[in-house]
C-alpha cells in the first residue's frame, strides 16, 4: 500500500536522524532524560536541534525557546492545512495535533481521498514518533561524536531527499511554480534571517502571491 510505504520510509529516514539528535543533545549538555523529554514533548526535529544548540552554545532559556518556536510557526500553517482533513471531536483533534509535523502532513497531503489522508497522517505521525523517540534514546545512550558520525554515513542527506520525494507529486500536478517560488524565497532569506525564518517567508510569499487569484475570481 503506497501510503503505508511512504509513511514507513519517512519514519526510517527521520528515525535515523533521531540518533543524531540524541547524540547532539548529550553533547549540548543535556541529561539523558532531558534529551528523551525533548523528543517526546516537543516532537519537531528542527526545533529540537535549534533549541538544544542554543543551550549548548551558552544561550538563555528564552533564546532557546524562541529559536525553536520560530522554526515551529510553520506548524500553524500545517494545522490550517490539516484541519479540514481531521476527524470531528475536540478530544480527538487535541490528540492528533501532537503529531502535526512536516512528515505526517506531507504523507497526508500527498493523498487525494479523505480516508487515505487521515490514515497517512496517523501512520506517518505515529511511525515517526515511535522511531524518533527510540532513535533519540539510542543516540543519547551511545552519545558518540555527532556531526562526524552523521555526515560520514550520509544520513543528513536523507532529510532533503525525503522532502523532495514528498514534494514530487505536487511538482507534477502543476504546483511547480509555487514550489520554485518557495525555494527561491528560502534561498534568498537564508543568509540574513534567523534559522526558521526562510521557511516562514516562503509560506508568507505564497499567501501574498495568492492575492491576485482571489481578485480575479471575485470579479
Amino acid at each position: 500500500m503506497r501510503v503505508l510505504r511512504r509513511a514507513a520510509s519517512i519514519s526510517i529516514a527521520t528515525g535515523a536522524y533521531g540518533v543524531a539528535f540524541g547524540v547532539f543533545a548529550i553533547d549540548s549538555g543535556l541529561s539523558w532524560l532531558e534529551a528523551l523529554a525533548f523528543s517526546a514533548v516537543v516532537f519537531t526535529g528542527s526545533a529540537q536541534f535549534a533549541a538544544a544548540g542554543v543551550l549548548g552554545s551558552g544561550g538563555t532559556v528564552s533564546a532557546a525557546i524562541l529559536a525553536g518556536a520560530l522554526l515551529n510557526v510553520r506548524s500553524l500553517a500545517f494545522g490550517v492545512a490539516m484541519a479540514p482533513r481531521m476527524p470531528r471531536g475536540w478530544m480527538k483533534r487535541a490528540l492528533w495535533s501532537h503529531l502535526m509535523i512536516d512528515e505526517s502532513v506531507a504523507v497526508a497531503t500527498a493523498e487525494q481521498e479523505l480516508h487515505l489522508q487521515r490514515f497517512g497522517y496517523l501512520a506517518g505521525g505515529l511511525g515517526v514518533f515511535a522511531l524518533w523517540n527510540l532513535a533519540t534514546m539510542l543516540g543519547a545512550t551511545i552519545a558518540i561524536d555527532t556531526s562526524d558520525f552523521v555526515s560520514q554515513i550520509g544520513l543528513d542527506a536523507t532529510i532533503p531527499a525525503a522532502f523532495l520525494a514528498l514534494l514530487w507529486p505536487r511538482l507534477q500536478s502543476g504546483q511547480h511554480r509555487i514550489a520554485a517560488a518557495g525555494a527561491l524565497i528560502a534561498v534568498a532569506a537564508v543568509t540574513w534571517t534567523p534559522a526558521g525564518m526562510p521557511i516562514l517567508l516562503a509560506a508568507f510569499g505564497v499567501v501574498v502571491g495568492s492575492a491576485p487569484a482571489w481578485r480575479r475570481s471575485a470579479s
Partner: protein, 102 residues
Amino acid sequence: MTAAAWTVLGLGVSTYLLKAAGPILLGGRSLPPRLLSVAERLPAALLAALVVVTSMSEGSTLVLDARAVGLAAAAVALILRAPFLAVVFAAALTAAVVRHLA
C-alpha cells in the same frame, strides 16, 4: 529545574499550541474558499523551502556540499520513478561517497 527542563516545558507548550491552533479553533468547520486555496498551495512552498534549507544551508550561510550532490541523486532516482526508500537511500549513499572522495 534545569535550563534544559525549562526549555522543554516552554518549547513543548508553545509548539503544541501552534500545532493545535488550526484543528481546535477551526473545529469541524471548513475554511473559507480563499483560505482553502492558500492552504492548498502552502505545502508545496513549505516542502520546497525545507528541501533547500536542509540541503544547502549551514546556520545562516549557503553551502554546496555533499548533501546537494545527494539531493541531485535523489532527483535522478525520482525521475527514474524509483520507490521512496530507494530515493532516500540513493541520497545517503551518494553523499557518503562524495565525502569519502573529498
